[in-house]
Symmetry: C2
Subunit: 260 residues, 2 copies
Amino acid sequence: MNTAFSTPAELRALIASGVWAKPTSGILDDYQQANLAVVPQAQAYDFLLFCHRNPKACPLLAVSDIGNPMIEFHGSVMDVRCMIPRYRVWKKGELVAEPTDLGEFWQEDSVAFLLGCSHTFDAPLGRAGIPVSPEAPAVYYTNIACTSVGNIKGNMVVSMRPVEASKVPLAMNITARYPSGHGAPVHVGDPAVIGISDISKPDFGVFPGVPEGYVPVYWACGVTPQVVLPNSGGDYLFTHYAGHMMVMDHTVDEVAGFSV
Amino acid sequence: MNTAFSTPAELRALIASGVWAKPTSGILDDYQQANLAVVPQAQAYDFLLFCHRNPKACPLLAVSDIGNPMIEFHGSVMDVRCMIPRYRVWKKGELVAEPTDLGEFWQEDSVAFLLGCSHTFDAPLGRAGIPVSPEAPAVYYTNIACTSVGNIKGNMVVSMRPVEASKVPLAMNITARYPSGHGAPVHVGDPAVIGISDISKPDFGVFPGVPEGYVPVYWACGVTPQVVLPNSGGDYLFTHYAGHMMVMDHTVDEVAGFSV
């Protein structure tokens, strides 16, 4: 079977047809990638406000109409049920499935949220001489509290990339240009300060090592909804599986321009 | 009576006590100013989503809890009922009052939204050699359609400042740094293109003239909710009166940093 692709639309078609189910890091440079969270309508207002109050962790790109799995973003339409390589499904707070398709789970009251992803700035970092591992980035739970809304509360999740010490300010400046990629870092250096006890054991993704002369740099991560939503009282929750993102039709620089 | 003030908190206290009710342009340079829209809880989700989908017109700063007139923004708490110099009140789509206090109108289901204001970048423009009139800026209805949400639909409102032709790119660059001041312009030049038939007759504010060698530059304006909300089916709507803003405790550069 042909699994070649050269555009996000071609990749999403391969994913939708079930022939491609890998992490989306290191592919289709410069295209915006997005995290997914799907909640019942009863929770949609609180989660929308949570995204506004926690823009670093949850940079909101698009919200679906209630019950409509076709989500629109600046003229591009994506099916959130099948165009992401892997999902996670919670029922009443319990993780019950990690399927490659949401079709059988989608509800009439489902509202989908696409949130920006830090894969977004990997290509701009690379061009600035700050190469990033093509594997799924190391992702950690932290002790950084989010601003809560109603029952939606908990700590931020971060992704980590090792950066040469002399290039940390450059990495901060470049990523600050991309709020849709979580913007500037939330922490630099000692993992213990943000509650990470063993940096070599990420909660998701692949630890790339931190070579001599490099510093671990941490960005807010769109896995955060998977911490704050499962026990917030909703009947269900659907998300992407960490590292397995929606790849969108717009480049990160286009997206950065849409809101300024 | 002493009407002197040197901080936003002192000004808000004077406004709350009824001794100060003027436009807020040209005062307290560099402090973030904000537009107000208050809607019933039944409309809060749609309006919150409208703000997300129209970030140039409605750069969202803060949302109150339902029924709570004390709105919080990064540790600062403001009473939206009395700390703005003048308000407008609609009942079932009809403008019924333009009071200096909202106390008698506030409802148990009221939700308040503070949206950034273009007064925000007047001081940074001035320091870059682009002086801005200290009077309330000229504000116009346009034919630029907003992205609608449910019944909330209509055209964008803009503010206009004349800029020396050679400095237009500089003005665009500076204002792009302040999404909380509506960011970069939405139009430059011919007013007819965006549906303004007579630039000398603004719908609100004061026409400052456009001297020879100057170009009119237009920014999205937080009066837009006063176009899209009155006939959207809500029982009531409260807003600030154009040019009469909430002056907040944070500087525009602090606010610009909060989300990146």
